[in-house]
């Protein structure tokens, strides 16, 4: 062990000392790195990038579709709300119009009724007046003629004639009012 010769002999077969295999290994590994770096790793990197891009693009499309759907929904809701408002407005209008029509009709009916009543009253008054006038004319002559025939006395005197008629009418009035009441 201590002699130089015995030191040299183990060195040649010492597994810590490299031999010609070193160069073969160096070449083999360098070749493998070259082949992998040229033919395998770039396409894999490209594929990863492409997939990430595709996923990113899909996410973008998803976001777009989502925002589209949201805006459509918002529009839909706005339209629904508008329609509700419109319906409420129309209902309110109809109610107001109905009320106006009813009140107008009521008013018209009342005026018409009042007018008819008024007309009837005036008609009655006119009839009564006409009746009174005709009575005044006819009853006087009739009565005087009748009375003249009965009493045989000519009642030619105008003044007395009208006085008699007035008294008669007053009596008639009194009797008619007491009979009516």
């Amino acid at each position: 062990m201590a002699s130089p010769a015995s030191m040299i002999v183990p060195l040649s077969s010492n597994f810590l000392v490299p031999n010609g295999t070193f160069f073969a290994e160096l070449f083999a590994f360098a070749l493998m790195v070259y082949l992998l770096g040229k033919y395998v790793i770039p396409p894999i990197n490209n594929a990863m990038t492409a997939r990430q891009d595709a996923i990113r693009q899909q996410f973008a499309e998803l976001d777009e579709a989502k925002s589209d759907a949201e805006s459509a929904e918002a529009e839909f809701r706005a339209q629904i709300a508008d329609a509700r408002h419109e319906a409420a407005r129309i209902r309110e209008d109809a109610r107001e119009q109905g009320a106006a029509i009813i009140s107008e009709m009521k008013e018209q009916a009342q005026t018409e009724a009042a007018r008819i009543v008024e007309h009837a009253h005036s008609q009655i008054e006119a009839d009564r007046k006409a009746a009174v006038a005709s009575l005044r004319n006819e009853v006087g002559t009739l009565a005087t003629t009748l009375a003249g025939r009965i009493v045989g006395e000519a009642l030619e005197d105008e003044a007395r004639q009208s006085r008699v008629v007035d008294r008669f009418l007053a009596d008639l009035d009194a009797s008619s009012t007491s009979g009516a009441s």
Partner: protein, 265 residues
């Protein structure tokens, strides 16, 4: 451990460690078993990569990834994140290097778990990472790349300046650190996987009717170790790149703040 096992079970033979199928070509020795195992591991990684690529090019508009593609994408995305966190952006060289390192080391580590031992002397698929030749080669490639990256980011002067920062007296330590980085990278990986191989050899000495349980347990554990070592190696590589380029961003920011007043004029 071996003494305990030796006491418990009859040993059929001695364990030989660090033995390889060696062929001398032109004065250089080549460990053929390491080389073919490396080719198998690298071939599997490339095959998986090409399967993922074929699925990608067949349906370029179909964004649903296949299972193999998912496997790749998980690692690629993770490494890209790490690179971006440490280097500021995804470097077109660093990320593929780290991804290749991870997959290759993972497959190389797991090769050992295939039950392809012809006898105690010959394992058809030994972990190539249990040979320092591979780990030294990986570490050398990585560190040369790291140094190149650092010089390209900061310029030769700027890169060399970081050896005397924060204090010039730390120069030897800083130089030592740069030299230790590849050694630790290589030997950490080698040691872990090499030890796993020794454990498998030891378990192989147990008669088959009793060895299945420790074999199963250890292989499961070894799978975890293989994954962790691949992850650590790739992560450290990214961190080393980040350290080599560190300080550059601050320099750039300083520049931009200087430029701003000029732009304002």
């Amino acid at each position: 451990m071996s003494a305990m096992i030796a006491g418990a079970v009859p040993l059929s033979g001695d364990i030989t460690i660090g033995d390889h199928v060696v062929r001398k070509i032109g004065g250089l020795s080549f460990n053929l078993d390491t080389i073919w195992a490396t080719l198998i591991a690298a071939g599997l990684v490339l095959l998986l990569g090409l399967i993922a690529r074929r699925a990608l090019t067949k349906h370029p508009d179909d964004h649903v990834p296949t299972k193999v593609q998912l496997l790749w994408e998980t690692i690629v995305a993770e490494v890209n994140t790490q690179v971006e966190d440490n280097l500021g952006k995804v470097q077109p060289y660093v990320a593929p290097l780290a991804i290749s390192l991870f997959f290759f080391i993972l497959f190389a580590n797991w090769l050992e778990l295939l039950p392809t031992e012809i006898n105690e002397k010959l394992h058809l698929t030994p972990a190539p990472t249990a040979d320092t030749n591979l780990t030294y080669a990986l570490a050398l490639l990585v560190m040369v790349s790291v140094w190149t990256y650092g010089i390209r980011q900061k310029g030769l002067k700027g890169y060399l300046k970081h050896f005397v920062e924060p204090f010039p007296v730390l120069l030897p330590l800083n130089v030592l650190e740069e030299l230790i980085k590849p050694l630790t990278l290589a030997l950490r990986l080698f040691g872990n996987i090499f030890a796993g191989g020794i454990m498998l050899s030891l378990i192989g000495l147990i008669p088959f009717y009793a060895s299945w349980a420790p074999n199963l347990l250890w292989k499961l554990f070894d799978m975890a170790i293989g994954g962790i070592q691949a992850f650590i190696f790739a992560l450290l590589v990214v961190l080393y790149f980040g350290m080599a380029g560190a300080g550059h961003e601050e320099h750039e920011e300083h520049d931009s703040t200087e430029k701003d007043p000029e732009l304002a004029h």
